[in-house]
């Protein structure tokens, strides 16, 4: 498929920046105007120091800035200006930008960083609480220097890689002495970003206006940003076409509409700007079931899946086959030198026969109870394709559909399933994301962790070692090993790797120019009208 190659070429070849879709570089920048952005779901909180999710960043990233952001040229100083690690890796020193003021006029200082790190990042922020588990204190030798003290070595690469998502300081003077979880500022954030929060109309929109006092001189260009909540993907596509919305990210419209709008010259459609946000569509096994615990069966099932067909039909070509827990967007930590499983139903059948599961009188070898994650269109289709494909190799699949809490309970707490599927996001570094899939010993009931009853001490050791390795090259090699082992033993099938897709009106200029663009501050975004 032509489009697929093109889209992926941009997204996955790693040569990002150069091919960024906007062509208006030569045009004169126009200031003013309102950009309207589609959000598929409502946000409970807008505080990025309490909730690490792209939905939160998509809005609050414009209002609250992180210490460090990521650009196609590497890491970009935002509220931090420089950073360094001690030799032993136990202390990380961050210089803070001077002359930055919160939206309410107070100065931004190290106190804010220290407060946020100790009161929010470490105890309250999902994913970060694991990352910062060894954080002892944050010292402030002067108002614009913060020293992070760890009890165990913290790789600076990991620290920096985590900061764009997990490093948003919040104003201490507004939170101190209050119940942080119930603070009114969680849904009306005060930050240092280019846009100031105005209002959050539940079920309708969030609005932010230009911060006249922004530290980047002459920015932002836009007067206003509005995030509109449209649950229904078809309605969102219609809104885009009607010009009521300028951008829809994170595959906010159906794949069919993505494909259709990519042929519409009013829109830029692509995966650029998501290099930091790639997801895997998976097949998960319950290894407590002796059939699923049989490696041969899992391998046979992998052979029974026509991944290319699924990519073409379900993902419309905007994806590529998965190669283990690290996606190709994972940079140096990624390798494609792993065992692969081609589509070969005959081979699959004979492997199943060998494994001791011949076809029985009812026409099937065995029956699987499959739980699909209710994350909408393509997880659903992927589940149905899985069932379809398994039937071709004589495995009966019963799909058990539940809503999100029902699904999470069924798989992650009650372990009441044989197979499951969903998609899972890779967050720039394997240590803070996909490793929880493989590491055993996660408490029962923790979603998106290894609740599959799969335990490999060897793997656990490899994961722990990689997490505290300070040398980038060694670390990368360790992750390649993990990847190879995961593809050998198939605790989970990382079947398809797909970046997110945005549909953007060509009226928006300077869009998708960073690898986590939808989460970034959009200070240079402008509207051509």
């Amino acid at each position: 498929m032509k489009k697929r190659l093109l889209g992926l070429g941009v997204a996955l070849a790693g040569t990002a920046g150069a091919l960024a879709p906007q062509t208006a570089v030569a045009q004169d920048v126009k200031t003013g105007g309102t950009a309207i952005v589609h959000m598929i779901s409502e946000q409970r909180t807008l505080n990025p120091a309490l909730r690490a999710s792209t939905g939160v960043y998509n809005i609050s990233g414009k209002i609250v800035e992180p210490l460090i952001d990521k650009s196609y040229d590497g890491y970009e100083p935002v509220l931090a200006t420089e950073w360094s690690s001690s030799e032993d890796g136990l202390a990380i020193t961050v210089k803070l930008r001077e002359g930055v003021r919160w939206h309410d006029g107070e100065d931004f200082t190290c106190d804010d960083v220290s407060f946020t790190a100790m009161e929010m990042w470490k105890p309250l922020l999902n994913y970060s609480s694991a990352l910062q588990a060894n954080l002892e204190s944050v010292d402030c030798p002067d108002p614009h220097t913060a020293v992070f003290n760890y009890s165990k070595p913290m790789p600076i690469d990991l620290f920096v890689a985590a900061m764009p998502d997990l490093g948003h300081p919040m104003p201490k003077h507004l939170y101190e002495g209050t119940d942080i979880l119930k603070s009114e500022y969680n849904t009306a954030p005060v930050g240092t970003g280019p846009f100031k929060f105005v209002e959050y109309e539940r079920g309708q929109y969030v609005m932010a206006v230009k911060n006249e006092d922004y530290w980047r001189e002459g920015y932002p260009y836009l007067d206003r940003i509005v995030w509109r909540f449209i649950k229904d993907k078809s309605a969102a596509a219609a809104a885009l076409e009607a010009g009521e919305v300028h951008e829809s990210g994170f595959i906010g419209v159906s794949m069919a509409d993505v494909e259709r709008l990519s042929n519409d010259d009013r829109f830029d459609v692509g995966t650029t700007g998501y290099e930091n946000n790639v997801a895997h569509s998976t097949v998960e096994f319950n290894h407590r079931n002796p059939i699923m615990a049989d490696l041969k069966v899992r391998q046979a099932m992998y052979h029974g899946l026509d991944i290319d067909y699924a990519i073409d039909t379900i993902m419309r070509g905007f994806a590529k086959p998965g190669r283990g827990p690290v996606p190709s967007a994972g940079g140096e930590n990624y390798t494609d030198d792993v065992k692969t499983y081609d589509y070969d139903p005959e081979l699959a059948k004979s492997m199943l026969d060998e494994a001791g599961y011949p076809v029985k009188d009812d026409g099937f070898r065995f029956k699987l109870r499959h739980r699909p994650a209710p994350w909408g269109e393509y997880t659903q289709l992927w589940a149905e394709y899985f069932a379809q494909a398994m039937k071709e190799i004589d495995i009966d699949v019963e799909i058990l559909t539940n809503d999100a809490p029902g699904f999470l309970n069924g798989v992650y707490r009650d372990h009441d399933f044989d197979t499951a599927n969903g998609w899972h996001q890779f967050r720039s570094d394997p240590a803070v994301s996909t490793m929880v899939w493989l590491r055993s010993g996660q408490p029962n009931g923790t979603p998106w962790t290894n609740q599959f009853g799969w335990k490999s001490e060897e793997m656990d050791q490899m994961i722990d070692d990689a997490a505290s390795e300070l040398d980038p090259e060694t670390r990368a090699e360790m992750y390649h090993q993990i990847q190879r082992k995961a593809m050998e033993e198939l605790p989970v099938i990382f079947a398809i790797e797909h970046p997110f897709i945005s549909v953007t009106s060509k009226k928006l200029m300077n869009h998708h120019n960073t690898p986590r663009w939808n989460s970034s501050s959009w200070y240079d975004l402008w509207l051509d009208q």
Partner: protein, 292 residues
């Protein structure tokens, strides 16, 4: 005998079925409804014959338009499943959901309505409070809640639809019972020494049935609509080809492959229409108050 003798019998009338049919067929729309209904039933019965095999299997290239490939005359959906086959098997599911949910709703409704209407007094008060409670909760919200609890298996969905649909028949049965329980034939039977249970189920219920049968067609239609709305929200049972599921998934490709949603959509419209027309025909035939 005398010129005003009253004991001579009139000529025997044709059987009930014949009378019923004669009344029914006077309504041409109802006949159309019957034909449509027959087609749906036929589709459900012949699903396995016309297109053997699993309607969920891959039958051809994904998103083939109708009338292009004769192997899949009505085209295929995103996963290459045959729409024609889905339509036939879907008829089975829709009918099943419609009939079973209706039976559940009518069964609950008849028991509650009959007890309330027959006994009156505090029994009526208690049962009517419960009915009101069910009626007050928006039924679709209750349905969503039940499906959230029970999961999206077709059996549970059907049961849940039945559970949210019983209040109207209950009220109807109650009203019928309240008017029938004082009719003289009930008094006559009671006066013969017939027990309460027999009075309720043998004497009154058969006479209360015609409006219930008519209303059953309404519940049947509503059940199919409810199932499709659930499927539209992604809460259908994916293990079966149902029209609702087909629309729910087809709407993602509505703009490029309209037929994926439109064909099952039209099937639903026609089926629901057939139930409604059938209901009106039954109404005319069973309650011949409105003539012509």
């Amino acid at each position: 005998m005398s010129i005003i003798d009253d004991t001579r019998l009139r000529p025997a009338e044709p059987s009930r079925a014949v009378v019923f049919w004669n009344r029914y067929r006077r309504n041409r729309a109802a006949l159309l409804g019957l034909v449509l209904f027959a087609v749906v039933v036929l589709m459900a019965l012949t699903a396995g014959l016309v297109d053997p095999g699993d309607p969920l299997r891959r039958a051809g290239a994904p998103l083939t338009a109708p009338f292009v490939d004769m192997a899949t005359p009505l085209g295929t959906d995103q996963l290459g499943r045959d729409i024609l086959s889905g339509l036939f098997y879907g008829a089975r599911i829709s009918l099943l959901v419609g009939v079973v949910a209706t039976l559940v709703a009518i069964a609950i409704g008849v028991v509650i309505g009959a007890l309330a209407g027959y006994f009156g007094g505090w029994v009526d008060d208690v049962l009517m409070r419960i009915t009101e409670a069910f009626q007050t909760i928006p039924n679709f919200v209750l349905l969503l809640t039940l499906v959230a609890i029970l999961g999206s298996k077709i059996e549970w969905i059907t049961l849940a639809i039945g559970i949210v649909s019983w209040t109207a028949p209950a009220r109807m049965v109650r009203a019928e019972f309240m008017s029938l329980r004082n009719r003289e034939f009930v008094d006559a039977a009671r006066n013969l020494g017939v027990s309460n249970t027999s009075l309720i189920f043998r004497e009154i219920l058969p006479n209360a049935l015609p409006p219930i049968i008519v209303y059953a067609s309404v519940i049947m239609a509503l059940s199919i609509l409810l199932e499709s709305a659930l499927a539209f929200l992604g809460l259908g049972d994916p293990n079966y080809a149902s029209w609702g599921n087909m629309i729910g998934q087809g709407r993602a490709v509505l703009r490029t492959a309209w037929y994926c949603a439109a064909i099952p959509g039209i099937a639903i419209v026609l089926t629901v229409l057939s139930f409604s027309l059938l209901g009106e025909g039954l109404n005319d035939a069973l309650n011949p108050r409105q003539k012509q």
